[in-house]
Amino acid sequence: MDPTLLGQFNKDNIIVEKLDTLINWSRANSQWYFQFGLACCAIEMMAAAAPRHDLERFGAMPRATPRQSDVMIVAGTVTLKMAERVKRLYEQMSDPKYVISMGSCSNSGGPYWQHGYHVLKGVDLVVPVDVYVPGCPPRPEALLQGLLELQKKIKTETPLRKQA
């Protein structure tokens, strides 16, 4: 029983829980995405950021640099050449970071899963993926729903407490 203030963070109590909620809320609602458009899914990502279906309504601002972004939307076919770079850029992102895999090609190699000798069969072989958005390419609404799923996932995290 650690009676100090910092020790309170090891147990569940109302302060910690409320703080957790606050931090999760702020992280979930302000997911700045690192636009990693590689192929056709990039067009749908752009369409999702365009006025018709607006990603910025959810607070997702596009940032061009990995240092300032929270979520990396890997959109498109990840070739073996590019896979190295994907991993490198993922490592340059600052914590907490998430990855959304958009489209069939980055989910599992997609249409190239059988004979594609140059394609990485799923980006989750190099980076840990949080949400998989299916589609070839996914509709912008599907990407938005993927982002909402990610928000749901973030809201179940416990950044201050040690146990899950």
Binding site: S30, T65, R67, D95, P96
Partner: protein, 366 residues
Amino acid sequence: MTSIFDSLQITFSGLNLDLMIVLPAIALMGGTVIFLLMAVNALVAVYFERKVSAFMQDRLGPMEVGILGFKGGKRFWGGIGQTLADAIKLLVKEDILPNDADRVLMILAPFIIFTGAFLTFIGLPFAENLVISDFNIGVFYIVAMSSVGVIGIILAGWSSNNKWSLYGAMRAAAQIISYEIPIGLSLLLVVLVAGSLNFGDIVQWQADNRWFIFHSPFSFLAFFIFFISIVAETNRTPFDIPEAESELVAGWMTEYSGFRWALFFLSEYANMLIVSIVASTVFLGGWLSPLQMFNVLPEAWLFLDGPTLGLFWVFLKAIILIFVMMWFRWTFPRLRVDQLMYLCWKVFIPFGLANLFFISLWELLF
């Protein structure tokens, strides 16, 4: 005009405390107010910018993030909690200092820029007697202090150990230093006519005569030059080569993440507020109401003036100018760096100098 500093000193003099205690206390109070002002400004300005940019692009800005009962969704106020979420998120983000980067300089750079903006607020008048410190060289002080930011930018670009950051920083430095000349020339015009560097005197002159912008066609031109130059000073589009997204990733800010970047962001919006207030004070009459635009109405009709209303007028004019700056951003494509330099050195400076010449003629004749 009396400054807050002086008035607080007078207030505290009754307490008969040692000057060593009174001065820092006053400074602290003033500092806190300024800091709060900067923070609130950042919050509001960022939300404002995102909404304005969205409406200009036929879309809605942040809509889903509500705050304290103002729920998000399909409502007019949906999304006002957005900037607060951004701010808290940036606070708890990881702080990355690249391995090969110059640690000291990298940590120092955001603070230098922040300090530049912070110090500028000291000489800025918000209303008739609401200035933290009444400098006799007010205008000069403002221009000098806003140049401190350049050092921070260069340090940021250099210490990131990233060639693209360095490019961005060098371009930013070139841009800011170049555009200070047209700013100086335009302000010089005002000082020439008003006869003093003090903000209070300048606004007094405008109260006695017209608003400066309507004084002569040359002063109108001077306002035009001044306004575009201050857009360039603060690195806003169309002059945002230093932070060009598609060219230099994020320019000199690339390697910054989390709270340090938030400081940069904050100082950028604080700079915008500063230059807007300066423009509104010097050219648009400061705390004078629109009824005094041409100074034709008799004294009795000037009911919209007053110490508290003065504050309102200053901020209203500043906000309008900020809106115009955002309007610029979403209208114009980015200027190439050589076009930028051409504009400064070959268009604004000749016109500024010609302006000075012609306004002196005007003053002689009229």
